[in-house]
């Protein structure tokens, strides 16, 4: 395969590896010694040793690649390679490294070999998160005009993050009380679980009175969805989850990691920039019986397009007909319309029909508790006994994930929702936040309609609801928004209105019109 001189060079190189002490890791290795000179290690032996005794394919091929890579190296360097030469060490750093296996002991010399042994050589960079990556790019931009419409996090008119007053008050109360920091039970803070279920279903709802809801505190929406996904994987092996096209990007990651198969149902109609209702219904109908249908309770992410009440009824009809199970993701209760009750009407409609359902909740947006990771998974069952059993299994899933959930956010929610004065104050703040978004939508619509000479219908901006708007801009057009106008958004054409101020609406309108009409 290789010439004798090439092998000599290669073994010389391996010998260099033996002596290279640029790393602090030392391993002892026993190597065969020659009779004539017991202190001279025949240089060919380490190479042959490595090539023959390394068992795994990966290492063998890496070894070969080391050898073959050594060949061009010798081409570039006429003459001998120097001990500790920088080229040699940079080569070492570039190539994958093998642990030299020591499965047999041959001889009598203990040679200290500098070995770079990492178990995880083959680990490559994970793909960057598309949504969080937008904020990173925004931070790196120095333009004065820049606008971050990426992450769905609420900003004030001054484009500052907003800590709700009720949250500050609750935290002060907690600081004064100086409560302990003991472990919560696996299912979470009891006071929190009680108020979160009541907030979702309404305090007097039969599902609560009959104790048919299994509620377990989770780490915001993501954590709650993951608990549910694990439950599905364990108890409904092979069952599919149907997710809308498009949906929040992390939904797919969650179900993939939980090993739950999923498929998509049509949702967004680019032609109308609205709901493809017929497509949605027929896809749900076509799915195998007993599938889980993931629905956004309100303020669909990323499109902002919600079904009407009549459409919700029809969706419930087809789900019942096909014996599917509805699985709601409620991340924006209160943020869509400004009313906590109105935003829960889709979930309540299904519950009122006596259906069993799953609901994941998040307090990241509506209480601004993004960083505290507070949410819940609720499973509405047909009986209190079933709910008790399901709750016990959810706990069993949570215990080997994180043992018990974090207290701080749970206490804040329990204090705010459980105290009538704070609760009312929260409702007011909620209306203000949702109200600001509605005003921004109106201003953006007005600006677009006024500036756009082509007569495009921009009314979808008013029809859409919640933090996000699907503009209908393509990937290329979205890139133009960023590259030319320093407007940061996700490539699917989604803008977060929570990051838009009234003052910037005109600028944004200009950017959208330019991207829409002048870029294809």
């Amino acid at each position: 395969m290789y010439s004798a001189s090439a092998i000599d060079k290669a073994t010389e190189f391996c010998f260099l590896l033996c002596h290279e002490t640029s790393y602090n890791y030392k391993y002892s290795i026993r190597v065969p010694v020659t009779e004539s000179n017991p202190h001279h290690c025949d240089p060919i032996i380490p190479l042959l040793l490595a090539m023959t005794i390394i068992p795994s394919k990966m290492m063998a091929s890496t070894m070969l690649s080391l050898v073959s890579a050594a060949l061009p190296l010798q081409e570039n360097h006429k003459g001998k390679m120097n001990l500790g030469s920088s080229d040699c060490s940079s080569f070492l750093r570039k190539e994958k490294r093998n642990p030299f296996m020591k499965t047999k002991s041959f001889g009598r010399i203990n040679m200290a070999i500098a070995v770079n042994t990492s178990r995880f050589e083959g680990v490559t960079m994970a793909p960057p998160d598309p949504i969080l990556g937008v904020s990173e790019a925004f931070r790196a931009d120095n333009s004065e005009m820049k606008l971050n419409l990426g992450v769905g996090a609420y900003r004030t008119e001054e484009l500052q993050p907003y800590v709700l007053n009720v949250v500050k008050k609750a935290e002060n109360l907690m600081l004064e009380r100086g409560e302990n920091k003991e472990y919560l039970p696996i299912e979470g803070l009891a006071a929190f679980n009680k108020v979160t279920a009541e907030l979702l279903f309404g305090a007097g709802n039969p599902v609560i009175e009959q104790q048919r809801v299994a509620t377990v505190q989770g780490l915001s929406g993501t954590g709650s969805l993951r608990l549910a996904a694990a439950l599905i994987e364990r108890y409904f092996p092979g069952a599919k989850v149907l997710i809308s096209s498009p949906t929040w990007g992390n939904h797919k990651n969650i179900f993939n990691d939980a090993r739950v198969p999923w498929s998509e149902y049509r949702y967004y109609d680019p032609k109308t920039v609205g709901l493809d209702f017929d497509g949605m219904i027929s896809d749900i109908k076509a799915a195998p019986e007993g599938s889980f249908v993931l629905l956004h309770g309100c303020a669909h992410n990323p499109t902002g397009i919600d079904p009407t009440p009549e459409q919700w009824e029809k969706i419930a009809d087809v789900i019942q007909e096909k014996n599917h199970i509805p699985f709601f993701d409620v991340a924006y209760q209160g943020f869509a319309s400004g009313s906590l009750d109105a935003d829960a009407s889709s979930v309540r409609l299904f519950a009122a029909r006596g259906m069993e359902l799953l609901v994941a909740q998040s307090y990241s947006k509506n209480l601004g508790l993004y960083a505290e990771r507070i949410g819940a998974i609720n499973v509405v069952c047909s009986s209190a006994d079933a709910a008790a059993r399901v709750k016990s299994q959810l706990k069993r899933i949570a215990r080997p994930m994180y043992s018990n959930p974090p207290i701080h956010g749970a206490r804040i929610v329990a204090n705010v929702v459980g105290d009538p004065a704070l609760f009312n104050e929260w409702k007011e703040e909620m209306e203000l936040m949702a109200g600001r978004i509605k005003n921004v939508r109106q201003k953006l619509f007005d600006s677009l309609s006024a500036k756009d000479k082509c007569g495009k219908d921009w009314s979808f901006i008013l029809k859409q609801i919640g933090m996000f708007s699907f503009t209908g801009l393509s990937k290329v057009q979205s890139e133009n928004m960023t590259n030319k106008w320093h407007v940061y958004m996700t490539k699917d054409g989604r803008i977060s209105l929570a990051g838009l101020s009234l003052a910037k609406c005109e600028y944004l309108a200009d950017a959208i019109i330019d991207s829409f009409h002048c870029v294809s």
Binding site: Y25, G122, A126, V151, E356, E372, A388, M401
Partner: protein, 427 residues
């Protein structure tokens, strides 16, 4: 078998549902979902809470109690809370806060002068306390070594088995505790390490082994490390009690530092639940040592990828607390003092209980009570004896005879000694 039964039942139910009227009341989807077995450790506390006896003692969960039997919030934590009150921060834990926590956490374990910290040759991420850190590593192990197994000591914290199982990494065991000597079964331990296939993944408790309190000596750790080198095993440390074993943070990290000197590229789960009393905040750290900074970046990205699909980002409050305390010299000193106080109280209770049992004329040898280290004592009590303690004396502990010394106080130690003597005096 169980799973197949479940699938058959589910299939049958699905077929059954086809023929049910759609206007019927709620279909029972969850019929085939049974009651999960109670968690052996958490259920002790639950039973304790519902007991109305005035003499009841909770020796179940390893959560520290002061000499009045009350949970403790450390002063350094209270001061930290005041310091961070009103801190406003962006949506997810800001990069600077996270990296501060990770930086300070790894310095604690590895020593602040460790080379690879300076050179960035480690991948560190915050985790949901020790459990979260172990689970994160288990998922990572599965992803990159799908055929591998985890070797767990006999016995170990019961949740270790659950964690690796749910991550779909099969568990194996190795000998650790010697029930006769109530100490370390060193020969069997070394044999098991030797007989395991090369390049196996091992979980080790660096100090204050849970549940036995039995730790290898320094010499024994050196031999273990050496054998690991020969076998090329991957050492994964679960450090849940740093500072709690001896009262000294560096001393408690000795085992890990020995492995580092020997050149192992280890993984380590770290928890601030016990040593900072931040149980409910779920603050911890996972670190994996790497060959170079580039690999560290790649591994970190993979770990974050796993967390993104589990809970997106960790809760900020605890992280802010820990990074504030560790980076403020005054608060850090205060913390070290308070750690010593906690560790000393545990030592005192061990000696007191030991003395009391001797004074009562117990026929058994209770030396292990003071030989063992950390929060837990593996008493050697049988399940029957434990049952008697629960039923007759309202003393709660796990059925493996594990006593959480943190639950022993000056006022209950005599009662406890008497009760133990009662159930063991006849052997």
């Amino acid at each position: 078998m169980q799973r197949r039964r479940m699938m058959i039942k589910w299939a049958r139910d699905t077929v059954r549902r086809r023929f049910m009227s759609t206007s019927a009341a709620a279909i029972d989807w969850w019929d085939h979902v049974g009651h999960a077995p109670k968690d052996p450790i958490m259920s002790v506390t639950e039973a304790f809470l519902s007991d109305t006896s005035p003499n009841k003692i909770n020796l179940g969960v390893g959560a520290y109690r002061d000499d009045d039997g009350r949970p403790v919030v450390l002063q350094c934590v209270r001061d930290g809370e005041v310091k961070i009150a009103g801190t406003e921060f962006l949506e997810s834990v800001s990069a600077s806060v996270s990296s501060k926590l990770v930086e300070e956490s790894v310095k604690l374990i590895y020593g602040k002068e460790a080379d690879f910290i300076k050179e960035g040759r480690f991948a560190g991420v915050q985790a949901l306390s020790g459990t979260g850190a172990c689970r994160l590593f288990a998922e990572f192990q599965r992803r990159f070594y799908p055929q591998s197994r985890i070797y767990l000591p006999i016995p170990t914290w019961s949740n270790h088995h659950n964690i690796w199982r749910d991550a779909q990494v099969p568990g194996r065991t190795f000998h650790y505790y010697h029930p006769d000597s109530k100490g370390l079964h060193f020969a069997a331990l070394m044999d098991d390490i030797k007989n395991a296939p090369d390049r196996s993944f091992f979980l080790l408790h660096p100090c204050a082994h849970n549940p036995t309190g039995v730790d290898p000596t320094e010499e024994q750790w050196r031999e273990i490390s050496n054998l690991f080198k020969v076998k090329n095993h991957f050492p994964f440390f679960d450090m849940a009690y740093q500072g709690f074993a001896s009262g000294d943070l560096d001393k408690d990290a000795k085992a890990i530092r020995i492995f580092l000197e020997d050149g192992h590229l280890i993984g380590c789960a770290q928890s601030f639940a016990k040593n900072m009393g931040l149980y409910g905040h779920r603050v911890g750290c996972l670190s994996v040592l790497c060959v170079d900074a580039k690999q560290a970046v790649a591994i970190k990205s993979q770990l974050q990828h796993i967390t993104r699909a589990m809970y997106s980002s960790p809760p900020v409050h605890g992280i802010l607390l820990v990074s504030t305390i560790l980076s403020d010299p005054h608060l850090k000193e205060l913390w070290k003092k308070e750690l010593k106080v906690m560790a000393n109280r545990i030592h005192r209770m061990r000696s007191t209980l030991h003395e009391s049992l001797k004074k009562l004329g117990s026929p058994l040898n209770w030396d292990h009570m003071t030989n063992q280290v950390g929060m837990f004592c593996f008493s050697g009590l049988s399940p029957d004896q434990v049952n008697r303690l629960v039923k007759e004396f309202h003393i709660y502990m796990t059925y493996d005879g594990r006593i959480s010394m943190a639950g022993v106080t000056t006022s209950n130690v005599s009662y406890l000694a008497n009760a133990i003597h009662e159930v063991t005096k006849f052997g």
